[in-house]
């Protein structure tokens, strides 16, 4: 009976698996075909533009001559709730339809920003990103779906935007935004939305906007906080006016290291869409010369008045006159001491003799070698997942807690009855293998010269030794 039950169970699981694969393949095919179809439609629409007077379509020319705002009957129906707004109306929508907006980054900020910009009818919407969709993006990057895991974020975001609004033009820039391509890409748009996640990109996008005279809608989110400003607009300051000196690398944090509550970039991304829409449709008072600070935990929004444009600014100041050539030659990674790409830092501080691979460590555990494993991650990381029998001593507390390590080593030696003369080994692990190296350096200095780090940390352990070990 039981074996029959097991057989049935595995048959169902197998069939489900194969059906799901089939389904996802069909979905991909459908969305690829839909994308193709829309591109062809957009091209056809481009061939008969509704704003240049020489319309080939009699219906469109009727609309143009009758109403004078260039909105087709379809557009009037689709955007009717905008048109009914007295402060927005036909003029606002008509401005929006003629505008073009570039969103750099299709992540936590870009996701809601792109969806709203597509939905509201921005004429041309560009998306720049070089990343692929991963499972741990989905809690905040709500434009991507499970079916697109492993696909490029630009393709995924473009497909989502097209499914919301097939009547606008969506341009896919499936590449990293760099000084070599920034000017060419950005020059094709009226407004830029910075939805990136790192310091060098923020300086680069700012400078490119200054060089090309484009307004920059800048948003940022981390942890429970968000920030929003419009730079380089209507005589207001640019990013460099406020922050001429980049933050030290110790102060730079990314969501991949520090965490972020998913809805926080969602809120800021929506506000970025709002500011971009205000600029594009020429309504209201854009957030220029002011910074909005969003505090999710206390449910507080503060708006701080910013300084004026700085005459000393290296980008937009009186004597700056940053040229396209200077921009292209500027080394943003060197200036900020941090990489443009999101690939995590890989330190190499130690000699090979002070390190072991995760495979070697697993052999030592299997061989019941006398040892102590110190995990130097922050406690809230340790609570997510940890290796058995490890002790958690966060890196900043390592020096103070040295006696604990020494006594643990002694205990282990007594417990294992290690022969006098030899001793228990000391291994150090962290998430990715950087902090463990810093810790080993510190331990060596403090006299524990046998300390070794486990190369690549828990991520490598999960990859090379135990595929069921959770990563985060």
């Amino acid at each position: 009976m039981e074996s029959n039950g097991n057989e049935e169970l595995s048959r169902i699981i197998d069939e489900l698996k194969s059906l799901k694969t089939e389904k996802s393949n069909i979905e991909h095919r459908i969305s690829a075909l839909e994308a193709q179809l829309r591109k062809i439609k957009v091209k056809k629409d481009d061939e008969m533009p509704n704003s240049n007077g020489s319309c080939t379509s009699t219906v469109k020319s009727f609309v143009d001559s009758s109403f004078g705002h260039g909105l087709s009957p379809n557009m009037i129906y689709r955007y009717s709730r905008h048109l009914l707004l007295p402060s927005f109306g036909v003029q606002g929508q008509s401005n929006l339809v003629k505008s073009s907006i570039l969103v750099v980054g299709a992540g936590g900020l870009g996701a809601p920003a792109l969806l709203y910009l597509a939905a509201c009818g921005v004429g041309r919407l560009g998306i720049v990103d070089h990343d692929i969709v991963e499972l741990n993006n989905l809690h905040r990057q709500i434009i991507h779906t499970e079916a697109y895991i492993g696909w490029s974020k630009v393709e995924s975001a473009a497909a989502a935007c097209r499914s919301v609004n097939s009547t606008i033009q969506i341009v896919e820039h499936k590449e990293a935004f760099r000084t070599s391509n920034a000017l060419e890409i950005m020059s094709k748009y009226d407004i830029v939305v910075d939805a990136t996640d790192n310091v060098p990109s923020r300086y680069m996008i700012n400078d490119c906007c200054v060089v090309l005279g484009k307004p920059l809608v800048s948003g940022a989110a981390l942890g429970m906080e968000g920030q929003l400003t419009v730079y380089n607009y209507n005589g207001g300051p640019c990013y460099r006016c406020l922050f001429p000196v980049p933050p030290p690398t110790t102060a730079c944090q990314r969501c991949s290291d520090s965490g972020v509550l998913g809805v926080v970039p969602g809120v800021i991304g929506c506000l970025q869409a709002l500011e971009a829409i205000k600029i594009a449709s020429v309504i209201g008072e854009p957030l220029s010369g002011r910074m909005l600070l969003f505090d999710a935990l206390s449910a507080r929004i503060r708006i701080v008045k910013l300084r004026e444009r700085s005459s000393q600014c290296k980008a937009c100041g009186e004597n700056a006159a940053l040229t396209q050539q200077q921009f292209q030659n500027f080394d943003y990674e060197k200036f900020t001491q941090s990489p443009l790409s999101t690939s995590p830092l890989k330190l190499n501080l130690l000699t090979p003799t002070a390190r072991i691979s995760s495979k070697e460590y697993s052999e030592k555990v299997a061989g019941r070698e006398a040892h102590i494993l110190v995990d130097v991650r922050p406690t809230h990381h340790y609570k997510i997942v940890s290796l058995p029998n490890s002790m958690n001593i966060p890196l900043p507390t390592l020096e103070d807690r040295l006696p604990e390590i020494s006594s643990a080593l002694k205990k282990e030696e007594e417990r294992r009855g290690v022969n006098t003369g030899s001793s228990a080994c000391l291994y150090v692990i962290c998430r990715r293998g950087n902090d463990s190296q810093r810790a080993v350096e510190c331990l060596h200095k403090m006299g524990l010269t046998s300390a070794k780090d486990i190369i690549g940390g828990l991520e490598t352990w999960a990859h090379d030794v135990d595929p069921n070990f959770p990563t985060y």
């Binding site: 980054g105 992540g107 936590g108 900020l109 870009g110 939805a195 990136t196 996640d197 790192n198 310091v199 923020r202 948003g219 940022a220 989110a221 981390l222 942890g223 906080e225 968000g226 920030q227 406020l242 922050f243 000196v245 980049p246 933050p247 030290p248 110790t250 102060a251 730079c252 944090q253 990314r254 969501c255 520090s258 972020v260 970039p265 910074m291 600070l293 505090d295 206390s298 503060r302 708006i303 701080v304 008045k305 910013l306 300084r307 004026e308």
Partner: protein, 105 residues
């Protein structure tokens, strides 16, 4: 910026007068982003001698929280929700906000 500076200075004439009686002023310091992480606080009261500038307040804070030094070159300083230069004099009841940039997304 000059306009704001002048305004603040002129307002300070009164508060300096009050300050002479108390010889100290109490302000509220608001921490954001990285400043929140390194201090472990969202806000705190700070008592400084009357006539102290924002820069004096920063020195005071950095002696309490040495790790604030890492962001001292890269932040927006606002008094009562308006940008100020470090030489602005703080008054009793002022709110001094320390706002380092966030770069995540």
């Amino acid at each position: 910026m000059d306009a704001i500076g002048t305004e603040n200075t002129s307002k300070n004439v009164d508060s300096t007068h009050e300050g002479n009686e108390n010889t100290s002023v109490e302000i509220k310091v608001l921490f954001f982003a990285r400043a929140r992480d390194v201090t472990g606080l969202t806000d705190m009261p700070l008592v400084v001698a009357s006539g102290s500038t924002a820069e004096n307040c920063l020195y005071e804070l950095m002696s309490k929280f040495p790790s604030l030094k890492e962001i001292s070159n890269c932040m927006v300083l606002a008094l009562n929700e308006e940008y100020i230069s470090e030489s602005t004099i703080v008054k009793n009841g002022d709110e001094l906000a320390i706002i380092p940039p966030i770069s995540g997304g």
